[in-house]
Symmetry: C2
């Protein structure tokens, strides 16, 4: 196995609230030297929550970097010491007020492996039970329940513009669950 | 329509080769003030290229931020003045040496709307004709042709760990093309 690109040195440009930026000097696979800009971001989870009527629960919120409101599956950063499945259950309750009777991992991926180490673990949650909703301060989220026919329409019309949500919804439509 | 979050001021922390980082002070939807860290990244395309035998052409390359080799659909940044479909055709030729007889947009999304404005436009390319491959200097890419059964296995086994590739492959499997 080719060892890939080797780090020669690393320089932290910025340490922030949700991300850090570093610039690493590296040796490429042809032994030339170059540099790589890397956005460090904590791993996170997303939850495809399906109710007993087969509707998927999506949340709508303003996403400042995108400059618009986006329809997404509930998601959140994995806190230190948390297992991803615990984060998923916690976020489900905080964001939409449900506890899952059944939850399992369906996929995991890098969101932008060309410039970031952010990893997402996606869960499928079913058998939802109402729990007390506990939204974070300063989160302004509205909830939508979408049936399977509407999901197809949303995907066709560009009504969903978020990578994790598109991946999870196409997984559901592919019926390979 | 709620106006979302309003920019009060903006500070560029870093201007780089593939990304810029800025920190904006904003007014939230409850009129409180906060700040947002935003990674600016040029929009890009990805291409789900399917050959006449129904096999999908994937590329494998080392992704430094992820620290591993990833199997992905061919992709690349939209150059100034290029239409996304032109980028898609160009990248297809550069990375895997094919020209598409047929190409159409199937989805577009933000990869990480919580911290980046990066947008991806995904195309489905068919009727592939051999063209001269023109890899970029300093790109080390190997090519794999994967049949539909192997795609299912790869997705199940975690053999694909890239968001755009997972979204595109589940789109293909869902048969809603």
């Amino acid at each position: 196995m080719n060892p890939g690109e080797k780090r020669i040195s690393s320089h932290v440009v910025y340490r922030g609230r949700i991300l850090n930026l570093r610039v690493d000097h590296v040796e490429l696979e042809n032994s030339k030297r170059s540099y790589r800009e890397v956005v460090e971001h904590a791993p996170a989870v997303g939850i495809l929550a399906e109710d007993d009527e087969g509707r998927v629960i999506l949340v709508k919120q303003f996403r400042y970097p995108a400059g618009e409101y986006l329809l997404e599956i509930p998601a959140g950063i994995i806190e230190p010491g948390e297992r991803p499945v615990e984060t998923a259950s916690r976020e489900l309750q905080e964001e939409i007020g449900f506890e899952p009777g059944e939850i399992r991992e369906i996929m995991r991926f890098y969101t932008s492996p060309g410039f970031s180490n952010e990893e997402l673990v996606i869960f499928h949650a079913k058998d939802l039970r109402v729990a007390e909703r506990e939204p974070d301060d300063d989160e302004f989220i509205s909830m939508e329940k979408v049936d399977i026919g509407s999901i197809e329409t949303l995907l066709r019309n560009g009504g969903v513009r978020d990578a994790k949500t598109i991946a999870a919804l196409h997984w559901l439509l592919s019926g390979r669950n």
